[in-house]
């Protein structure tokens, strides 16, 4: 069997090179490398929403990333994280090291992740991220469906389940839930309708649901669900 050199997958494109490449070719574009500390080490490029369309066009046309295999969404609710930091302070005129708790806020945005491959160069994935301004009104991101048609349904799914509005999408409608539905079920603060039904071995999440259900219906018959 003949194995040509082009049939073998090539090494991944190093992200530092790609970042510099994008920034020199598209002036004004802000690209940040988000590192992945897990063993998979799938680091990704965070691009600003304003230039994302230009970056995507550049990656497809100039860098042969011709295939978008997957688009997904992530919800990052606003979260307070506290870190213990050692700070030098003057205590009774003596400089001592004191542990201080520093609090900071992270999250508060929705994120969209694109996995890009190159069929031509047999390389990938290059992971592209975009973040919305917030989780309420500023949920607009440019649609990359005009660049990779395979993003069509997946962007609709993110619109449906996370509530990201993709500007420039040719057919932005809900795809899984019905049109009259107003919630975004994959958001972490989604509250589902209280429709609990008896479970013989409720535990964890379901047990919490049980307790919440019966707390809501405090006066009701405890042994019968009177949700009629």
């Amino acid at each position: 069997m003949h194995l040509s050199s082009t049939s073998r997958p090539q090494a991944r494109i190093p992200l530092e090179t790609l970042k510099a490449d994008i920034e020199t070719n598209l002036p004004g574009c802000v690209v940040e490398i988000i590192s992945n500390p897990s063993p998979s080490a799938q680091h990704s490029l965070l691009v600003d929403a304003e230039h994302a369309f230009a970056v995507a066009t550049f990656l497809r046309d100039q860098r042969n990333l011709d295939y978008c295999s997957n688009v997904t969404g992530i919800d990052w609710p606003l979260k307070e994280i506290s870190q213990k930091v050692k700070v030098k302070k003057l205590v009774d005129d003596v400089e001592t090291e004191v542990e201080e708790v520093q609090k900071s806020l992270t999250g508060g945005y929705l994120e969209v992740v694109y996995h890009l491959y190159s069929m031509e160069l047999k390389t990938g994935p290059v992971i592209l991220r975009m973040r919305t301004a917030d989780r309420a009104d500023g949920v607009h991101l440019p649609s990359l469906t005009p660049i990779w048609r395979s993003a069509d349904f997946q962007e609709r799914e993110i619109f449906d389940l996370y509530g990201v509005t993709f500007d420039g999408h040719p057919d932005l409608r809900r795809i899984l839930m019905w049109d009259e539905f107003t919630d975004h079920p994959m958001r972490r603060d989604y509250v589902e309708p209280d429709d609990y039904e008896y479970e013989p071995t409720a535990h964890d999440e379901v047990l919490r649901k049980t307790e919440a259900h019966y707390a809501n219906k405090a006066g009701d018959n405890k042994f019968g669900d009177s949700a009629v």
Partner: protein
């Protein structure tokens, strides 16, 4: 009619029957299921109708693609909330007498998807179900068993009296509320005329009441 007398007459070459028996025999021997599947259970349902399991032996080989010509609805699979109104609408379009087999865990209760936001917790929330077949998915043998149980139910129906079937009782409804797509859930989330939550009372050892619902 006395069963012993009937057998005796049969031995003498005289066939004796009642209108009720004849009527029920005719109906149970020629059930036309609706050609309708929702998920993996439908694959088992299809297998049941094919050569190996041969549902035709029981008079149900004619799967009709139109609800107007069907009298048995086999709910084979997961009913998403988006699909539920269509299922109820199809049921409403079927002429009486009509029966429902709820096949598999999803059609019975939502199955593994019960705690999700998008799956209906059992089709019996909206339409009356005659036979429940547990399994995930149930094997063709289980469907055949459920089918035979349904035939038995039909066989034993009295044509007159208070317990007569729905299609012979003008006061009983043959159409049911089609749920509407609401902003957060289906509206109504269940039809109170058809379904109410099961009554459960569990006593546990000690003071652990967490299982009580």
């Amino acid at each position: 009619m006395n069963e012993a007398l009937k057998t005796e007459l049969g031995k003498q070459g005289i066939f004796a029957t009642s209108l009720q028996e004849l009527y029920n025999w005719g109906r149970r021997s020629s059930l036309w299921p609706l050609n309708f599947g929702l998920a993996c259970c439908a694959i088992e349902m299809i297998a049941t109708t094919m050569a190996r399991y041969d549902l035709a032996r029981f008079g149900a080989e004619v799967f009709r693609p139109s609800p107007r010509q069907a009298d048995l609805m086999i709910i084979a699979g997961t009913i998403t909330k988006k699909m539920a109104p269509q299922v109820v609408r199809l049921y409403n379009q079927m002429p009486e007498p009509k029966y429902v087999i709820s096949m598999g865990a999803c059609a019975i209760s939502g199955g593994p998807f019960k705690q999700g936001y998008n799956v209906l917790k059992g089709i019996d929330r909206y339409i009356p179900v005659d036979i429940y077949i547990p399994g995930c998915p149930p094997r063709p043998e289980a469907l055949i068993d459920g089918f035979m149980a349904l035939q038995k139910i039909i066989d034993e129906q009295a044509l007159t009296g208070a317990s007569r079937p729905r299609h012979l009782n003008a006061a009983e409804p043959s159409e049911f509320i089609i749920p509407k797509f609401g902003a957060h859930d289906l509206e109504p989330p269940q039809n109170p005329a058809v379904w109410h939550a099961p009554l459960v009372n569990i006593t546990t050892a000690g003071e652990d009441t967490s299982g009580n619902a």
